[in-house]
Structures are given as structure tokens and as C-alpha cells.
Amino acid sequence: MSDPTAATGAPASPRPRYKRKLSNYLLDKKLQLRYVLIVTILSGVIAGALGFMIYQQRRAASESIEKDLAALTQKDTSQDQFQEQIASDLASEDQALVYKMVGVGIGLVVILSLYLILMTHKVAGPLFKVSMYFERMADGRLGVVTPLRKGDMLVDFFTSFKEMHDTVRGRAQEDAAAMDKATQALRAAQNQGDYRGEAHGKLTEALEALEKHVDDRKSKLTDFPPRSA
């Protein structure tokens, strides 16, 4: 999750519906690859160890058959070729078994890795999205939080984030409105009193600064980026 804001330019047109892209599946490489590697290596070790046991047993059976055949035909030289043929067949069958197991193992690792990346993406996705909103909050931008995609995990966490975000945003809007109202009221009072002098100038300056501050705040509280109606 290096820079979640990097990919979030503000589009001028209404945002298209988000679609998962293959290139975006590794959002949090550290988190996702760690889990994927653990499960894949573990499965590989189990499959490899049991596969080796299968091969060992199979080879032992083949060797036993070869030994018996050799014992049966040891006095009959005419059976040498037959014996070699059987030994060769058994060896190639054992070899085919190894290839089959290696193929199944590689298939398992590939399918498992892809599935795990998909699965961890459903956790990394919401975290990426929330990180993006946190970075906006760091700039004082509190727009509208859009919901998660279908199938995403950490729904409870996201819900509590959204509630916090909406509450803080609502409170900031109330504060901005209160400051705006106070500015107008003080400006009216200032005009009614018709004060003059340095104090008047300072108040005007302070009210202008507050007005600017409120305007800036209001702009940051608008829906960002703009969404279609």
C-alpha cells in the first residue's frame, strides 16, 4: 500500500463504474504476497512430501516385481528380453507418475496462487480505499465516501470508517456554517457601530481571513471527486 492517492486523479467527467483490473490485484504486495507465499509453499511442501512417498512406494513395488521376475527367469536366457521389457515398462510408468504428480503440483500452485491473490485482494481493496480517504483527510478534504465493491471484505471496519467520516464531515459543515454566520453577524455589527481606527482594521482583516478560511473549508467539504447525479 505504497501510495494510494497516486492513482486517484480527479476526473472531470462522471466516474465510470469501477471494474476490477488484473493489474490492480496486488494492491498491498507485502500483505498479499506474504499470505499467498505461506499457503502456496505449505501446500507445495505437503504435496511434494506425499508425492515423494507415493513415488517411493511405487518404485519399491516395481523393484519387487523386477526382482521376482529376475528370480523366475534367471535360468532361462530366452526370457532376458522379456524381463528387460517389463523393467523398462515399469520404469517408464514410474516416470510418467512423477511427471503427472509434478504437473498436478504446478497446476495446484498456480491455481492456488491466483485464487489467493483474488481472496487477499478483497481485504487489500477496502484497506487501499480507506487509505485513500485518509490521505484526503490529511489535506482537509472530506468528500463523500462511496461504498465498497461487491464481494469486498472488512465491511464492518469500512462501515465504522464511513460513519466516522460522515460525522466529522457533518460537524465540519456545521462549524463552517457557524463561522460563516458569525462573520456576517460581526460584519453587520461592525458596520452598525461605524467603528474606525486600528481596531476596526484588525477586525476587518480577521473577518476577511475567517471568510477565506470558511470558503476554503467549504470547497474541501464538497463531494470529491464529483459524482454523477
Partner: protein
């Protein structure tokens, strides 16, 4: 700070360093849905692999055991020579045959090796079918005893040694087969339990920071923006937590900016003689509220 004025009861995450935090087994399942889903997937997959491949291993092991056992059963053992008991022969009639046939010659010592001589003994077809037995005569008591080959004992020992060895080999094969089965079951159980514990602990390192951030989110929702403490050692989602801290700092800065602007207005208004204005009182309340939220 007056604690009674707080609106919320959100627990405050403990600061690092004050009391060293120790992970407790009781707290390992913070986010059950997330943690159990990932752990169960890992455990389920390993169980599936162990059971599937385990059955395959056992099938091949059974075949190998059967092949080896057949081979062992087919191994020839030295035979024990057959010794038959001396039968009570029917009394030989004393009457000589009428025909002038020559008297039968005594059977040679190794008559079993020369059956043609035995056939010509003239004792009839019943004698031919009856097995001939080597005997030895004890001259002192004039009793006939079955002649026992000199190496009989060795042959008997060799036979039974071989038979016992074969039985031991069969037993060893069966024990080997059972050992594979038990090793598979034991490894499977160990793997499942180990993976379950490891999975929960691993996911806890992700769920922990999420839980902590969740607590802060609750506080922020209730208008409290006090200090954010660091994660525990070994926790994951460090980058995510940094983003959270940036966001939190942004909100704190918003409050501080508001306070600074409003305080400047209050000071200027007081300087202009508007200190008693109702709006200034409202602004003072606003500043007090915001300052309290930062404590």
C-alpha cells in the same frame, strides 16, 4: 479534562511504552469473520491435500505391500524330508507258490532309488503302491526302526528358520504399511492444529491494527482527536496505519486552524469593543469545544 463531559465511552488505545503490551491468547480472535475465514481456508486446503494425497499414498502403499507380500510368500523354503511310520505288514503266507518261480531276492538297501527292482519283487500291485521306507534293524533287540537321514535335523531347522523369516518379513511389511498410515494421520493432525494456531496468530497481526484504528475511528466520530499511539511490535499494516495517522493529523490540523482563525476574530472583536456581542460568545463556545476535542 473533565471526564464526565465526554459524550462517548470509546476505550482509548493504550500508549506504547507505558505498560509493555503482551499478546494474550484470549484476544487473538479480534475480527472473527476475517480471521476465521483466512485460517479455515488454509486449514481446509491443507486437510484436503493431506486426505486426498494420503489416500493415494495408502493405495500405492497397499499395492506395494501386496506385491512384496506375494513375493515373500513365493519364496521357496527347503523342504523337510518325509518320514513315514513303519506299517505293520500283513503276515506273509508260508505256503510257497505252486509255480516254480524263483524266490524273491531281498530288497536292496536303496530300493527307493531303483523302483524297477521293487516292481520285479513280485509282491503284487498293492506293494508297488505302498511307499517303501528305509529301515534299520537293532540287532540286540531285533527291532526295526525307520532309518532317519543324518541331516534331518539341519533340514528341519533350515525349513523352520526360513518359514519364520518369511513370517517376520510379512509382519514387517504389514507393520511398515501401518506405520505409513499412522505417520500420515499424525502429520495431518499436527499440521491442522499447527496451521489453525499459526493462521489465527498471523491474521491477528492484521486484525490488531484494524481493531486499534477502529477504536480511534469511534473516538473521532465522537469528536475526540487526541494523540495517536504507535502499533505494537510485529504488527502488520504499518503503511495503512501511517495513512491513518496522516488522516488523523489532517483533522487535528483542521481543528487547530479553526481555533486560530476564530481566536483572531475574537481578539479583534474584543479590541473593537464587540467582546460582549452574542456572536463572540458563540465563537468562544466553538473554540472551547474544539480545544476540548484536541485534549
Amino acid at each position: 479534562m473533565n471526564e464526565q463531559q465526554r459524550k462517548d465511552a470509546t476505550p482509548t488505545p493504550k500508549p506504547r511504552g507505558a505498560v509493555p503490551y503482551k499478546r494474550s491468547w484470549k484476544n487473538l480472535l479480534i475480527n472473527k469473520r476475517y480471521q476465521l475465514r483466512f485460517t479455515l481456508f488454509m486449514v481446509g486446503l491443507s486437510t484436503l491435500l493431506m486426505v486426498g494425497l494420503g489416500f493415494w499414498v495408502m493405495r500405492v502403499a497397499n499395492e506395494t505391500t501386496e506385491v512384496s507380500a506375494t513375493s515373500v510368500r513365493g519364496t521357496p523354503c527347503p523342504k523337510i524330508p518325509v518320514i513315514e511310520a513303519v506299517e505293520e505288514l500283513a503276515p506273509v503266507p508260508m505256503k510257497l507258490p505252486d509255480a516254480p518261480e524263483p524266490a524273491p531276492e531281498p530288497a536292496p538297501a536303496d530300493d527307493t532309488e531303483q523302483p524297477e527292482d521293487a516292481g520285479s519283487a513280485g509282491s503284487g500291485s498293492a506293494d508297488e503302491e505302498r511307499p517303501r521306507v528305509k529301515v534299520q534293524i537293532d540287532e540286540s533287540s531285533m527291532t526295526m526302526m525307520v532309518a532317519v537321514p543324518q541331516d534331518l535335523g539341519q533340514k528341519v531347522v533350515a525349513h523352520w528358520t526360513c518359514e519364520l523369516k518369511l513370517a517376520a518379513k510379512l509382519d514387517r511389511l504389514e507393520r511398515g504399511r501401518l506405520r505409513i498410515l499412522w505417520v500420515l494421520i499424525g502429520t495431518g493432525l499436527l499440521l491442522v492444529l499447527g496451521l489453525a494456531a499459526y493462521g489465527i496468530k498471523m491474521t491477528h497481526k492484521v486484525a490488531g491494527p484494524l481493531f486499534k484504528v477502529g477504536l480511534y475511528l469511534g473516538k473521532m466520530k465522537n469528536g475526540r482527536f487526541d494523540k495517536v499511539y504507535s502499533l505494537r511490535k510485529g504488527d502488520q499494516l504499518v503503511d495503512f496505519y501511517e495513512h491513518f495517522k496522516h488522516g488523523h493529523a489532517g483533522i487535528v490540523q483542521m481543528q487547530k486552524d479553526d481555533i486560530a482563525r476564530v481566536k483572531a476574530v475574537i481578539a479583534a472583536a474584543e479590541g473593537s469593543g464587540l467582546g460582549d456581542h452574542a456572536t463572540i460568545a458563540e465563537l468562544r463556545d466553538l473554540v472551547a469545544k474544539k480545544e476540548k476535542s484536541l485534549e
